[in-house]
């Protein structure tokens, strides 16, 4: 790159724009068609990651940057995966204990109360 700026043909942006529209329509259809269970969750995640990838790679020009910047930004986000895993484990445990001790949690919360 001679200049520091990012210059790309306008057709690239129109293509990605169109793809984002289609992917958004697909993810909306997941809800509209009321898919449930693993099919719903996997479709939501697939469309989400495709959209996120297109935005970061093309609209934010990440695919044309040097690896030093790409790695500095993308690698730290992997830590979020660790946080999700830890919190999911913890939440599972909390739910288990609540189920054990607060089976009348709904009543407890809505003031029907223990006393």
């Amino acid at each position: 790159m001679a200049t520091e700026g990012q210059e790309h043909p306008i057709s690239t942006y129109f293509w990605i724009w169109g793809l984002l529209f289609v992917l958004s329509a697909f993810s909306y259809m997941v809800d509209y068609m009321a898919f449930q269970g693993y099919l719903r969750w996997s479709l939501i995640l697939i469309f989400m990651f495709l959209k996120a990838g297109l935005i970061v790679a093309v609209f934010m020009h990440m695919m044309w940057e040097r690896w030093a910047l790409i790695y500095a930004i993308l690698v730290p986000t992997l830590a979020i995966g660790v946080l999700i895993a830890l919190m999911a484990l913890e939440a599972n445990y909390v739910f288990g204990t609540r189920e054990m001790f607060f089976t009348d949690w709904r009543q407890f919360f809505q003031g029907g109360g223990h006393h």
Binding site: G5, Y13, I44, M48, V56, A68
Partner: protein, 232 residues
């Protein structure tokens, strides 16, 4: 920028850039690299909110309201699930497209087109915030509060107001900065390298791209909120 040494591509370039004993981010203006670092930190902020939402949703003993029904809107006599949210999603994507083109025309030094694309982006962003205000009003009238919720789990209110509120704030600030950058483009500040109000740095068209990074990030966050909060 004058790079006396030839820059290497790929993995070798990664090692060479980081070990060069100079600035590591070669080939990008400093402001852009710093915007990326800021966006990375913002990513962690939003991740914390979404992970907290995951935790409360997994642990609640009261049933979580079905967002498909909560956010349904009446259209032509029938309730359409997530109608307003879908419209908001398309508006934000459209604004991302106009922003990307504003960056392109900025580098071509086409002041007029860049100005109008930035204004369109700002208007789309403002309409997004307006719809969010409508959504908030609707839920508040239905009795949803950050601490309680007549439809089920009280944490629903807390997560909704916190996550969408923080995102809406980001959009609002984005709109303000879009207008500022648009005015700078219109005045020709970037052609004449005029420094900004609070800085001695020269104005350059890179600032449109840096602005664009922020705006695309706002769209990016919405992709995750849409998937995890509204569709899940």
């Amino acid at each position: 920028m004058s790079e006396s040494v030839q820059l290497q591509p790929g993995l070798k370039g990664l090692v060479a850039d980081w070990s060069s004993d100079q600035r590591a981010f070669k080939g990008v203006p400093w402001g852009k690299a710093m915007m990326w670092i800021f966006l990375l930190s913002d990513t962690f902020v939003f991740s914390c909110f979404l992970v907290a939402y995951m935790s409360v949703r997994m642990t609640t003993m009261v049933e979580w309201p079905n967002p498909s029904e909560v956010f349904a809107l009446e259209a032509f006599g029938t309730p359409v699930p997530l109608l307003l949210i879908a419209i908001m999603t398309f508006i934000l994507i459209t604004s991302s497209g106009t922003m990307a083109m504003a960056v392109k025309f900025g580098y071509e030094k086409n002041r007029n087109v860049t100005f109008w694309l930035l204004i369109i982006t700002a208007l789309l962003g403002a309409s997004f915030v307006g719809m969010q205000a409508f959504e908030w009003t609707k839920l508040i009238q239905e009795g949803v509060r950050p601490w309680s919720n007549p439809m089920g789990a009280p944490q629903f209110g807390a997560a909704f107001f916190m996550i969408t509120g923080f995102h809406g704030t980001h959009v609002t600030f984005g709109v303000i900065f879009l207008i500022i950058i648009a005015i700078k483009v219109r005045r020709g500040d970037f052609d004449h390298e005029r420094p900004g109000f609070m800085t001695g740095r020269k104005g350059r068209y890179e600032m449109v791209e840096t602005m664009g990074l922020y705006w695309h990030f706002v769209d990016l966050v919405w992709v995750f909120i849409f998937a995890f909060f509204y569709l899940w």
